[in-house]
Protein backbone atom coordinates (compact mmCIF):
# COMPACT_ATOMS: atom_id res chain seq x y z
CA UNK A 1 0.00 0.00 0.00
CA UNK A 2 2.69 2.46 1.06
CA UNK A 3 4.83 1.22 -1.80
CA UNK A 4 2.10 1.95 -4.33
CA UNK A 5 1.45 5.52 -3.18
CA UNK A 6 5.13 6.46 -3.10
CA UNK A 7 5.55 5.05 -6.54
CA UNK A 8 2.75 7.25 -7.89
CA UNK A 9 4.10 10.39 -6.26
CA UNK A 10 7.52 9.79 -7.76
CA UNK A 11 6.17 8.99 -11.18
CA UNK A 12 4.52 12.39 -11.19
CA UNK A 13 8.01 13.93 -11.08
CA UNK A 14 9.77 12.24 -13.98
CA UNK A 15 12.99 14.25 -13.57
CA UNK A 16 13.86 12.22 -10.46
CA UNK A 17 14.93 9.32 -12.62
CA UNK A 18 17.41 7.90 -10.10
CA UNK A 19 14.79 7.62 -7.41
CA UNK A 20 12.49 5.82 -9.79
CA UNK A 21 15.18 3.35 -10.74
CA UNK A 22 16.02 2.72 -7.10
CA UNK A 23 12.36 2.14 -6.36
CA UNK A 24 12.07 -0.28 -9.24
CA UNK A 25 15.03 -2.22 -7.91
CA UNK A 26 13.47 -2.13 -4.46
CA UNK A 27 10.28 -3.64 -5.83
CA UNK A 28 12.24 -6.38 -7.59
CA UNK A 29 13.88 -7.25 -4.26
CA UNK A 30 10.55 -7.46 -2.51
CA UNK A 31 9.07 -9.63 -5.24
CA UNK A 32 11.86 -12.20 -4.68
CA UNK A 33 10.81 -12.65 -1.07
CA UNK A 34 7.06 -12.17 -1.57
CA UNK A 35 5.91 -15.79 -2.02
CA UNK A 36 7.94 -17.12 0.91
CA UNK A 37 6.83 -14.31 3.20
CA UNK A 38 3.18 -14.81 2.24
CA UNK A 39 3.40 -18.59 2.75
CA UNK A 40 4.98 -18.25 6.19
CA UNK A 41 2.45 -15.63 7.16
CA UNK A 42 -0.41 -17.84 6.01
CA UNK A 43 0.83 -21.18 7.38
CA UNK A 44 2.65 -20.06 10.54
CA UNK A 45 1.67 -16.64 11.86
CA UNK A 46 -2.00 -16.66 10.88
CA UNK A 47 -2.61 -20.08 12.56
CA UNK A 48 -0.61 -18.89 15.56
CA UNK A 49 -2.89 -15.84 15.93
CA UNK A 50 -5.96 -18.02 15.38
CA UNK A 51 -4.78 -20.41 18.09
CA UNK A 52 -4.48 -17.48 20.49
CA UNK A 53 -8.08 -16.44 19.79
CA UNK A 54 -9.23 -20.07 20.05
CA UNK A 55 -7.54 -20.42 23.41
CA UNK A 56 -10.13 -18.06 24.88
CA UNK A 57 -13.02 -20.10 23.47
CA UNK A 58 -14.55 -23.40 24.46
CA UNK A 59 -17.18 -25.85 23.22
CA UNK A 60 -17.56 -29.08 21.30
CA UNK A 61 -16.74 -29.07 17.58
CA UNK A 62 -17.80 -25.86 15.82
CA UNK A 63 -19.95 -24.53 18.70
CA UNK A 64 -17.31 -22.29 20.20
CA UNK A 65 -18.03 -19.56 22.71
CA UNK A 66 -15.80 -17.01 24.38
CA UNK A 67 -15.00 -18.06 27.92
CA UNK A 68 -12.29 -15.57 28.87
CA UNK A 69 -9.47 -17.10 30.87
CA UNK A 70 -11.47 -20.20 31.88
CA UNK A 71 -9.34 -22.50 29.68
CA UNK A 72 -6.15 -21.18 31.21
CA UNK A 73 -7.51 -21.72 34.72
CA UNK A 74 -8.64 -25.22 33.72
CA UNK A 75 -5.01 -26.13 32.90
CA UNK A 76 -4.07 -25.96 36.58
CA UNK A 77 -6.77 -28.42 37.66
CA UNK A 78 -6.53 -30.78 34.69
CA UNK A 79 -4.72 -33.95 35.91
CA UNK A 80 -4.03 -35.16 32.34
CA UNK A 81 -2.41 -31.85 31.40
CA UNK A 82 -0.31 -31.87 34.58
CA UNK A 83 0.77 -35.46 33.84
CA UNK A 84 1.69 -34.52 30.25
CA UNK A 85 3.77 -31.52 31.40
CA UNK A 86 5.49 -33.65 34.06
CA UNK A 87 6.37 -36.37 31.54
CA UNK A 88 7.62 -33.87 28.97
CA UNK A 89 9.81 -32.11 31.56
CA UNK A 90 11.19 -35.49 32.75
CA UNK A 91 12.14 -36.40 29.15
CA UNK A 92 13.72 -32.99 28.78
CA UNK A 93 15.86 -32.82 31.91
CA UNK A 94 17.00 -36.43 31.72
CA UNK A 95 17.28 -37.14 28.00
CA UNK A 96 18.82 -33.92 26.64
CA UNK A 97 21.83 -33.83 29.04
CA UNK A 98 22.52 -37.58 28.59
CA UNK A 99 22.42 -37.21 24.82
CA UNK A 100 24.65 -34.12 24.75
CA UNK A 101 27.24 -35.72 27.04
CA UNK A 102 27.29 -38.92 24.97
CA UNK A 103 27.57 -36.94 21.73
CA UNK A 104 30.44 -34.85 23.18
CA UNK A 105 32.23 -37.97 24.42
CA UNK A 106 31.95 -39.73 21.06
CA UNK A 107 33.02 -36.67 19.08
CA UNK A 108 36.09 -36.11 21.28
CA UNK A 109 37.08 -39.77 20.85
CA UNK A 110 36.51 -39.57 17.08
CA UNK A 111 38.52 -36.36 16.77
CA UNK A 112 41.71 -38.29 17.59
CA UNK A 113 44.04 -37.80 14.62
CA UNK A 114 45.60 -41.26 14.88
CA UNK A 115 42.30 -43.12 15.15
CA UNK A 116 41.78 -45.85 12.55
CA UNK A 117 38.35 -46.71 11.08
CA UNK A 118 37.23 -43.17 11.94
CA UNK A 119 34.92 -42.93 8.93
CA UNK A 120 33.32 -46.27 9.73
CA UNK A 121 32.60 -45.34 13.37
CA UNK A 122 31.25 -41.92 12.38
CA UNK A 123 28.93 -43.30 9.70
CA UNK A 124 27.69 -46.12 11.94
CA UNK A 125 26.90 -43.83 14.86
CA UNK A 126 25.20 -41.32 12.57
CA UNK A 127 23.11 -44.02 10.86
CA UNK A 128 20.08 -43.82 13.24
CA UNK A 129 19.43 -40.28 11.91
CA UNK A 130 18.40 -41.57 8.50
CA UNK A 131 15.42 -43.50 9.88
CA UNK A 132 11.93 -42.05 9.91
CA UNK A 133 10.63 -41.33 13.39
CA UNK A 134 7.63 -43.61 12.85
CA UNK A 135 9.70 -46.50 11.46
CA UNK A 136 12.27 -46.55 14.23
CA UNK A 137 9.56 -46.14 16.87
CA UNK A 138 7.75 -49.24 15.63
CA UNK A 139 11.06 -51.15 15.56
CA UNK A 140 11.77 -50.08 19.15
CA UNK A 141 8.28 -51.08 20.24
CA UNK A 142 9.01 -54.65 19.18
CA UNK A 143 12.65 -54.64 20.38
CA UNK A 144 11.41 -53.70 23.85
CA UNK A 145 8.34 -55.95 23.94
CA UNK A 146 7.95 -58.29 26.95
CA UNK A 147 9.13 -61.23 24.78
CA UNK A 148 11.30 -58.92 22.72
CA UNK A 149 14.92 -59.40 21.86
CA UNK A 150 16.19 -56.89 24.44
CA UNK A 151 14.64 -58.84 27.32
CA UNK A 152 15.89 -62.12 25.85
CA UNK A 153 19.44 -60.80 25.54
CA UNK A 154 19.37 -59.41 29.09
CA UNK A 155 18.09 -62.73 30.45
CA UNK A 156 20.68 -64.69 28.43
CA UNK A 157 23.56 -62.74 29.94
CA UNK A 158 21.86 -63.09 33.37
CA UNK A 159 21.55 -59.35 33.95
CA UNK A 160 17.88 -59.90 34.80
CA UNK A 161 15.91 -63.01 35.70
CA UNK A 162 12.40 -61.74 34.91
CA UNK A 163 11.53 -59.87 31.70
CA UNK A 164 11.32 -56.10 32.25
CA UNK A 165 7.90 -54.61 31.37
CA UNK A 166 9.47 -52.01 29.07
CA UNK A 167 6.19 -50.82 27.62
CA UNK A 168 3.58 -51.48 30.31
CA UNK A 169 5.30 -50.37 33.51
CA UNK A 170 4.97 -46.59 34.11
CA UNK A 171 8.65 -46.20 35.04
CA UNK A 172 10.17 -48.48 32.39
CA UNK A 173 7.92 -47.06 29.67
CA UNK A 174 9.51 -43.64 30.25
CA UNK A 175 12.95 -45.26 30.19
CA UNK A 176 12.13 -46.91 26.85
CA UNK A 177 11.09 -43.56 25.33
CA UNK A 178 14.29 -41.92 26.62
CA UNK A 179 16.46 -44.76 25.24
CA UNK A 180 14.69 -44.53 21.89
CA UNK A 181 15.13 -40.75 21.49
CA UNK A 182 18.75 -40.96 22.62
CA UNK A 183 19.44 -43.68 20.05
CA UNK A 184 17.91 -41.61 17.27
CA UNK A 185 19.50 -38.21 17.98
CA UNK A 186 22.96 -38.73 19.57
CA UNK A 187 24.68 -39.18 16.20
CA UNK A 188 22.97 -36.06 14.88
CA UNK A 189 24.41 -33.91 17.68
CA UNK A 190 27.77 -35.66 17.37
CA UNK A 191 28.17 -34.39 13.78
CA UNK A 192 27.78 -30.79 14.97
CA UNK A 193 30.42 -31.22 17.68
CA UNK A 194 32.79 -33.05 15.35
CA UNK A 195 32.78 -30.27 12.80
CA UNK A 196 33.25 -27.66 15.53
CA UNK A 197 36.16 -29.65 16.98
CA UNK A 198 37.87 -29.70 13.61
CA UNK A 199 38.02 -25.91 13.78
CA UNK A 200 39.76 -25.95 17.16
CA UNK A 201 43.46 -25.24 16.74
CA UNK A 202 45.42 -28.31 17.81
CA UNK A 203 48.28 -26.20 19.20
CA UNK A 204 46.04 -25.22 22.14
CA UNK A 205 45.99 -28.87 23.21
CA UNK A 206 49.73 -29.18 22.65
CA UNK A 207 50.31 -26.18 24.90
CA UNK A 208 48.00 -27.63 27.54
CA UNK A 209 49.88 -30.93 27.46
CA UNK A 210 53.20 -29.13 27.99
CA UNK A 211 51.61 -27.37 30.95
CA UNK A 212 50.76 -30.81 32.32
CA UNK A 213 46.98 -30.85 31.79
CA UNK A 214 45.49 -34.37 31.72
CA UNK A 215 42.74 -35.54 29.37
CA UNK A 216 39.93 -34.55 31.74
CA UNK A 217 41.34 -31.09 32.33
CA UNK A 218 41.76 -30.63 28.57
CA UNK A 219 38.15 -31.69 28.04
CA UNK A 220 36.66 -29.37 30.67
CA UNK A 221 39.03 -26.41 30.29
CA UNK A 222 39.48 -26.36 26.52
CA UNK A 223 36.95 -28.50 24.63
CA UNK A 224 33.79 -27.49 26.50
CA UNK A 225 34.50 -23.71 26.46
CA UNK A 226 35.48 -23.86 22.77
CA UNK A 227 32.31 -25.70 21.85
CA UNK A 228 30.02 -23.60 24.02
CA UNK A 229 28.14 -21.83 21.18
CA UNK A 230 27.41 -25.11 19.42
CA UNK A 231 26.44 -26.84 22.67
CA UNK A 232 23.99 -24.01 23.30
CA UNK A 233 22.63 -24.32 19.76
CA UNK A 234 22.13 -28.09 20.02
CA UNK A 235 20.60 -27.90 23.49
CA UNK A 236 18.07 -25.32 22.31
CA UNK A 237 17.11 -27.34 19.22
CA UNK A 238 16.90 -30.52 21.34
CA UNK A 239 14.75 -28.73 23.90
CA UNK A 240 12.36 -27.43 21.26
CA UNK A 241 12.24 -30.93 19.73
CA UNK A 242 11.59 -32.66 23.04
CA UNK A 243 8.85 -30.21 24.03
CA UNK A 244 7.09 -31.15 20.78
CA UNK A 245 7.65 -34.90 21.15
CA UNK A 246 4.87 -36.82 19.41
CA UNK A 247 5.83 -39.48 16.82
CA UNK A 248 7.81 -41.72 19.20
CA UNK A 249 5.31 -41.77 22.05
CA UNK A 250 2.36 -42.19 19.69
CA UNK A 251 3.96 -45.24 18.06
CA UNK A 252 5.77 -46.87 20.99
CA UNK A 253 3.37 -46.58 23.93
CA UNK A 254 0.40 -44.49 22.68
CA UNK A 255 0.95 -42.43 25.84
CA UNK A 256 0.32 -45.34 28.18
CA UNK A 257 0.28 -47.12 30.51
CA UNK A 258 -2.37 -44.80 31.90
CA UNK A 259 -0.89 -41.44 30.99
CA UNK A 260 2.63 -42.39 32.10
CA UNK A 261 4.33 -41.44 28.83
CA UNK A 262 1.79 -38.94 27.44
CA UNK A 263 3.37 -35.77 26.00
CA UNK A 264 1.80 -32.33 25.58
CA UNK A 265 1.67 -32.62 21.78
CA UNK A 266 -0.09 -35.93 22.09
CA UNK A 267 -2.60 -34.52 24.56
CA UNK A 268 -3.37 -31.73 22.07
CA UNK A 269 -3.88 -34.36 19.38
CA UNK A 270 -6.17 -36.40 21.65
CA UNK A 271 -8.19 -33.33 22.67
CA UNK A 272 -8.71 -32.32 19.03
CA UNK A 273 -9.08 -35.57 17.15
CA UNK A 274 -9.58 -38.48 19.54
CA UNK A 275 -12.02 -37.32 22.23
CA UNK A 276 -15.04 -35.09 21.50
CA UNK A 277 -13.14 -32.24 19.86
CA UNK A 278 -12.57 -29.22 22.08
CA UNK A 279 -10.44 -27.05 19.79
CA UNK A 280 -10.53 -24.11 22.20
CA UNK A 281 -9.02 -25.94 25.15
CA UNK A 282 -6.58 -27.78 22.87
CA UNK A 283 -5.34 -24.40 21.62
CA UNK A 284 -4.84 -23.29 25.23
CA UNK A 285 -2.73 -26.39 25.89
CA UNK A 286 -0.71 -25.63 22.75
CA UNK A 287 0.11 -22.19 24.10
CA UNK A 288 1.53 -23.92 27.16
CA UNK A 289 4.19 -25.43 24.85
CA UNK A 290 4.90 -22.01 23.34
CA UNK A 291 5.42 -20.54 26.82
CA UNK A 292 7.63 -23.47 27.86
CA UNK A 293 9.79 -23.12 24.73
CA UNK A 294 10.30 -19.43 25.47
CA UNK A 295 11.11 -20.06 29.16
CA UNK A 296 13.57 -22.91 28.51
CA UNK A 297 15.31 -21.00 25.70
CA UNK A 298 15.79 -17.99 28.02
CA UNK A 299 17.13 -20.25 30.80
CA UNK A 300 19.62 -21.86 28.43
CA UNK A 301 20.83 -18.48 27.16
CA UNK A 302 21.20 -17.27 30.77
CA UNK A 303 23.13 -20.37 31.87
CA UNK A 304 25.46 -20.11 28.89
CA UNK A 305 25.85 -16.37 29.43
CA UNK A 306 26.79 -16.74 33.11
CA UNK A 307 29.61 -19.12 32.30
CA UNK A 308 31.00 -16.39 30.09
CA UNK A 309 31.43 -13.99 32.98
Amino acid sequence: MIQATTKQSIESKPRKYNNKLRLKNGLIGWSFIAIATAMIGLFYFYPMAQALILSFQSGAGANLQFVGFDNYLRLFTDPTFIAAVKNTVIYLIIQVPIMIILALLISVLLNDKKLKLKGFFRTAIFLPCITSLVAYSVVFKYLFGTDGIINQLLINVSLISEPIQWLTDPFWAKVTIIIAITWRWTGYNMIFYLSALQNVDNSIYEAAKIDGANAFQQFFKITIPMLKPIILFTSITSTIGTLQLFDEVMNITKGGPGNATLTISQYIYNLSFKYTPDFGYAATVSYAIVIMIVIFSIIQFKVAGDKNA
Binding site: F192, I240, S272
Partner: protein, 274 residues
Protein backbone atom coordinates in the same frame (compact mmCIF):
# COMPACT_ATOMS: atom_id res chain seq x y z
CA UNK B 1 49.99 -46.80 29.10
CA UNK B 2 49.20 -45.04 25.85
CA UNK B 3 48.42 -48.31 24.14
CA UNK B 4 45.93 -49.27 26.87
CA UNK B 5 44.18 -45.92 26.39
CA UNK B 6 43.90 -46.54 22.68
CA UNK B 7 42.34 -49.99 23.11
CA UNK B 8 39.90 -48.48 25.57
CA UNK B 9 38.84 -45.86 22.98
CA UNK B 10 38.25 -48.59 20.38
CA UNK B 11 36.15 -50.58 22.84
CA UNK B 12 33.93 -47.60 23.71
CA UNK B 13 33.45 -46.65 20.05
CA UNK B 14 32.67 -50.28 19.16
CA UNK B 15 29.97 -50.42 21.84
CA UNK B 16 28.34 -47.26 20.48
CA UNK B 17 28.61 -48.66 16.96
CA UNK B 18 26.93 -51.93 17.93
CA UNK B 19 24.12 -50.11 19.75
CA UNK B 20 23.59 -47.84 16.74
CA UNK B 21 23.57 -50.62 14.17
CA UNK B 22 21.80 -53.37 16.10
CA UNK B 23 18.20 -52.19 15.41
CA UNK B 24 19.03 -52.04 11.68
CA UNK B 25 20.43 -55.56 11.68
CA UNK B 26 17.44 -56.85 13.62
CA UNK B 27 15.06 -55.05 11.25
CA UNK B 28 16.71 -56.48 8.13
CA UNK B 29 17.03 -59.99 9.59
CA UNK B 30 13.38 -59.89 10.72
CA UNK B 31 12.28 -59.01 7.21
CA UNK B 32 13.62 -62.41 6.15
CA UNK B 33 11.90 -64.37 8.93
CA UNK B 34 8.33 -65.42 9.54
CA UNK B 35 6.29 -63.65 12.19
CA UNK B 36 6.62 -66.35 14.86
CA UNK B 37 10.43 -66.33 14.49
CA UNK B 38 10.53 -62.57 14.84
CA UNK B 39 8.69 -62.76 18.17
CA UNK B 40 11.09 -65.47 19.31
CA UNK B 41 13.89 -62.96 18.72
CA UNK B 42 15.61 -64.93 15.99
CA UNK B 43 18.82 -63.18 14.93
CA UNK B 44 19.71 -65.42 12.00
CA UNK B 45 18.57 -64.47 8.48
CA UNK B 46 15.75 -66.72 7.29
CA UNK B 47 14.26 -67.62 3.95
CA UNK B 48 10.92 -65.84 4.17
CA UNK B 49 11.81 -62.54 2.53
CA UNK B 50 9.99 -63.33 -0.72
CA UNK B 51 7.01 -64.76 1.17
CA UNK B 52 6.85 -61.68 3.42
CA UNK B 53 7.00 -59.45 0.37
CA UNK B 54 4.17 -61.36 -1.35
CA UNK B 55 2.03 -61.24 1.81
CA UNK B 56 2.80 -57.56 2.04
CA UNK B 57 1.67 -56.86 -1.52
CA UNK B 58 -1.51 -58.93 -0.98
CA UNK B 59 -2.57 -57.63 2.41
CA UNK B 60 -1.16 -54.09 2.68
CA UNK B 61 -1.73 -51.10 0.40
CA UNK B 62 1.98 -50.53 -0.01
CA UNK B 63 1.97 -49.31 -3.62
CA UNK B 64 -0.64 -46.54 -3.13
CA UNK B 65 1.11 -45.38 0.03
CA UNK B 66 4.48 -45.36 -1.74
CA UNK B 67 2.96 -43.44 -4.65
CA UNK B 68 1.42 -40.85 -2.32
CA UNK B 69 4.67 -40.44 -0.40
CA UNK B 70 6.68 -40.03 -3.61
CA UNK B 71 4.23 -37.46 -5.04
CA UNK B 72 4.12 -35.44 -1.83
CA UNK B 73 7.86 -35.56 -1.13
CA UNK B 74 8.99 -34.69 -4.65
CA UNK B 75 6.45 -31.88 -5.15
CA UNK B 76 7.25 -30.42 -1.73
CA UNK B 77 10.98 -30.55 -2.44
CA UNK B 78 10.73 -28.88 -5.87
CA UNK B 79 8.41 -26.09 -4.67
CA UNK B 80 10.36 -25.58 -1.43
CA UNK B 81 13.64 -25.16 -3.25
CA UNK B 82 12.23 -22.61 -5.71
CA UNK B 83 10.42 -20.52 -3.10
CA UNK B 84 13.11 -20.63 -0.41
CA UNK B 85 16.04 -20.00 -2.74
CA UNK B 86 14.27 -17.01 -4.36
CA UNK B 87 13.70 -15.61 -0.87
CA UNK B 88 17.14 -16.39 0.56
CA UNK B 89 18.72 -14.79 -2.53
CA UNK B 90 16.35 -11.82 -2.32
CA UNK B 91 17.10 -11.13 1.34
CA UNK B 92 20.86 -11.16 0.72
CA UNK B 93 21.25 -9.56 -2.73
CA UNK B 94 18.58 -6.86 -2.33
CA UNK B 95 19.41 -6.29 1.30
CA UNK B 96 17.67 -3.41 3.07
CA UNK B 97 16.79 -2.52 6.65
CA UNK B 98 13.11 -3.27 6.12
CA UNK B 99 13.87 -6.67 4.59
CA UNK B 100 16.15 -7.54 7.49
CA UNK B 101 13.25 -6.86 9.85
CA UNK B 102 10.99 -9.13 7.78
CA UNK B 103 13.73 -11.78 7.80
CA UNK B 104 13.99 -11.69 11.59
CA UNK B 105 10.22 -12.04 11.91
CA UNK B 106 10.26 -15.02 9.53
CA UNK B 107 12.98 -16.65 11.67
CA UNK B 108 10.70 -16.41 14.70
CA UNK B 109 8.40 -18.91 12.98
CA UNK B 110 11.02 -21.58 13.73
CA UNK B 111 10.10 -21.25 17.41
CA UNK B 112 6.40 -21.99 16.80
CA UNK B 113 5.62 -25.58 17.77
CA UNK B 114 3.65 -27.44 15.14
CA UNK B 115 1.13 -28.61 17.72
CA UNK B 116 0.12 -24.98 18.26
CA UNK B 117 -0.69 -24.45 14.57
CA UNK B 118 -2.27 -27.83 13.94
CA UNK B 119 -5.82 -27.01 15.01
CA UNK B 120 -6.15 -23.64 13.22
CA UNK B 121 -4.56 -25.22 10.12
CA UNK B 122 -7.08 -28.06 10.26
CA UNK B 123 -9.95 -25.56 10.54
CA UNK B 124 -8.44 -23.46 7.76
CA UNK B 125 -8.35 -26.44 5.41
CA UNK B 126 -11.90 -27.27 6.53
CA UNK B 127 -12.98 -23.86 5.21
CA UNK B 128 -10.94 -24.36 2.03
CA UNK B 129 -12.70 -27.71 1.52
CA UNK B 130 -16.03 -25.94 1.13
CA UNK B 131 -14.68 -23.59 -1.52
CA UNK B 132 -12.16 -25.80 -3.30
CA UNK B 133 -12.45 -29.47 -2.30
CA UNK B 134 -9.48 -30.30 -4.56
CA UNK B 135 -7.04 -28.72 -2.13
CA UNK B 136 -9.07 -29.09 1.09
CA UNK B 137 -8.92 -31.71 3.83
CA UNK B 138 -7.98 -35.25 2.80
CA UNK B 139 -6.11 -34.26 -0.36
CA UNK B 140 -2.42 -34.71 -1.06
CA UNK B 141 -2.14 -30.94 -1.63
CA UNK B 142 -3.38 -30.20 1.87
CA UNK B 143 -0.78 -32.59 3.25
CA UNK B 144 2.07 -30.68 1.63
CA UNK B 145 1.01 -27.00 1.56
CA UNK B 146 1.93 -26.05 5.18
CA UNK B 147 5.39 -27.61 4.98
CA UNK B 148 6.48 -26.17 1.62
CA UNK B 149 7.97 -22.97 3.05
CA UNK B 150 10.18 -23.13 6.11
CA UNK B 151 12.18 -20.30 7.62
CA UNK B 152 15.05 -22.72 8.08
CA UNK B 153 15.43 -23.27 4.34
CA UNK B 154 15.25 -19.52 3.60
CA UNK B 155 17.95 -19.00 6.24
CA UNK B 156 20.00 -21.81 4.70
CA UNK B 157 19.87 -20.25 1.23
CA UNK B 158 20.63 -16.79 2.57
CA UNK B 159 23.71 -18.07 4.43
CA UNK B 160 24.97 -19.75 1.27
CA UNK B 161 24.24 -16.71 -0.89
CA UNK B 162 26.69 -14.77 1.32
CA UNK B 163 29.52 -16.84 -0.15
CA UNK B 164 28.33 -16.37 -3.74
CA UNK B 165 30.71 -14.21 -5.87
CA UNK B 166 28.64 -11.07 -6.52
CA UNK B 167 30.74 -10.05 -9.57
CA UNK B 168 29.05 -12.86 -11.50
CA UNK B 169 25.70 -11.11 -11.02
CA UNK B 170 27.09 -7.81 -12.37
CA UNK B 171 28.50 -9.65 -15.37
CA UNK B 172 25.09 -11.12 -16.07
CA UNK B 173 23.40 -7.72 -15.80
CA UNK B 174 25.90 -6.21 -18.22
CA UNK B 175 25.11 -9.04 -20.63
CA UNK B 176 21.53 -7.80 -20.52
CA UNK B 177 19.90 -10.44 -18.34
CA UNK B 178 16.87 -9.42 -16.29
CA UNK B 179 17.07 -9.77 -12.50
CA UNK B 180 15.11 -13.02 -12.65
CA UNK B 181 17.31 -14.13 -15.56
CA UNK B 182 20.42 -13.49 -13.46
CA UNK B 183 18.93 -15.64 -10.73
CA UNK B 184 17.99 -18.60 -12.93
CA UNK B 185 20.88 -18.49 -15.40
CA UNK B 186 23.75 -17.59 -13.09
CA UNK B 187 22.87 -18.16 -9.42
CA UNK B 188 21.04 -21.50 -9.69
CA UNK B 189 23.66 -23.29 -11.85
CA UNK B 190 26.53 -22.05 -9.65
CA UNK B 191 24.88 -23.14 -6.41
CA UNK B 192 24.22 -26.78 -7.36
CA UNK B 193 25.72 -28.20 -4.15
CA UNK B 194 23.63 -25.88 -2.00
CA UNK B 195 20.52 -27.02 -3.86
CA UNK B 196 21.52 -30.66 -3.46
CA UNK B 197 21.92 -30.27 0.30
CA UNK B 198 18.62 -28.37 0.58
CA UNK B 199 16.84 -31.00 -1.52
CA UNK B 200 18.06 -33.77 0.78
CA UNK B 201 16.88 -32.07 3.99
CA UNK B 202 13.50 -31.20 2.49
CA UNK B 203 12.91 -34.60 0.93
CA UNK B 204 13.78 -36.41 4.16
CA UNK B 205 11.55 -34.18 6.27
CA UNK B 206 8.66 -34.63 3.85
CA UNK B 207 9.14 -38.38 3.41
CA UNK B 208 9.10 -38.86 7.19
CA UNK B 209 6.42 -36.30 8.11
CA UNK B 210 3.81 -37.86 10.37
CA UNK B 211 1.65 -35.58 12.53
CA UNK B 212 0.12 -33.28 9.89
CA UNK B 213 -0.62 -36.07 7.37
CA UNK B 214 -2.13 -38.06 10.27
CA UNK B 215 -4.46 -35.15 10.99
CA UNK B 216 -5.38 -34.18 7.45
CA UNK B 217 -5.28 -37.40 5.42
CA UNK B 218 -8.26 -39.37 6.65
CA UNK B 219 -9.12 -41.87 3.94
CA UNK B 220 -6.80 -44.89 3.70
CA UNK B 221 -6.22 -44.42 -0.05
CA UNK B 222 -4.50 -41.11 0.71
CA UNK B 223 -2.21 -42.52 3.39
CA UNK B 224 1.53 -42.04 3.18
CA UNK B 225 4.23 -44.52 4.22
CA UNK B 226 4.60 -43.24 7.83
CA UNK B 227 0.82 -43.50 8.32
CA UNK B 228 0.85 -47.01 6.87
CA UNK B 229 3.66 -48.13 9.19
CA UNK B 230 2.00 -46.52 12.18
CA UNK B 231 -1.26 -48.37 11.41
CA UNK B 232 0.52 -51.69 10.90
CA UNK B 233 2.40 -51.21 14.16
CA UNK B 234 -0.74 -50.62 16.17
CA UNK B 235 -2.79 -53.47 14.70
CA UNK B 236 -3.99 -56.12 17.16
CA UNK B 237 -2.65 -59.18 15.39
CA UNK B 238 0.50 -57.88 13.75
CA UNK B 239 2.47 -59.96 11.26
CA UNK B 240 6.01 -58.93 12.21
CA UNK B 241 7.54 -60.28 9.03
CA UNK B 242 5.30 -58.01 6.94
CA UNK B 243 5.85 -55.00 9.21
CA UNK B 244 9.62 -55.32 9.15
CA UNK B 245 9.64 -55.75 5.37
CA UNK B 246 7.55 -52.56 5.03
CA UNK B 247 9.90 -50.66 7.33
CA UNK B 248 12.93 -51.82 5.36
CA UNK B 249 11.30 -50.67 2.11
CA UNK B 250 10.37 -47.33 3.67
CA UNK B 251 13.92 -46.79 4.93
CA UNK B 252 15.58 -47.70 1.61
CA UNK B 253 15.11 -44.31 -0.14
CA UNK B 254 16.59 -42.30 2.72
CA UNK B 255 19.38 -44.85 3.20
CA UNK B 256 20.23 -44.64 -0.51
CA UNK B 257 20.28 -40.84 -0.41
CA UNK B 258 22.53 -40.99 2.63
CA UNK B 259 25.08 -43.40 1.21
CA UNK B 260 25.16 -41.87 -2.29
CA UNK B 261 25.25 -38.22 -1.21
CA UNK B 262 26.85 -38.39 2.21
CA UNK B 263 28.83 -35.17 1.71
CA UNK B 264 25.76 -33.11 0.72
CA UNK B 265 23.75 -34.79 3.43
CA UNK B 266 26.05 -33.59 6.19
CA UNK B 267 26.45 -30.19 4.47
CA UNK B 268 22.67 -29.81 4.54
CA UNK B 269 22.47 -30.61 8.22
CA UNK B 270 25.28 -28.25 9.10
CA UNK B 271 23.80 -25.46 7.00
CA UNK B 272 22.30 -23.79 10.01
CA UNK B 273 25.59 -23.23 11.80
CA UNK B 274 27.83 -22.08 8.99
Amino acid sequence: MHKVNRIFIYIILSIFTIVSIFPFIWMIVSATNKSSDVTKGRLVPGTHLVENFQNLINSVDLVPALTNSVIISISTTVLSLIIASLAGYGFEIYRSKAKDVVFTILLLSMMIPFAAMMIPLFRMFGTISQMAPGIGIDTLTSAMLPSITTAFLIFFFRQNTKMFPKELLEAGRIDGLTELGVFFRIFVPTMKTTYAAAAIITFMASWNNFLWPLVVLQSPENHTIPLLISNLGSSHSPDFGIIMTTIVIATLPTALIFFLLQKHFVAGMMGSVK
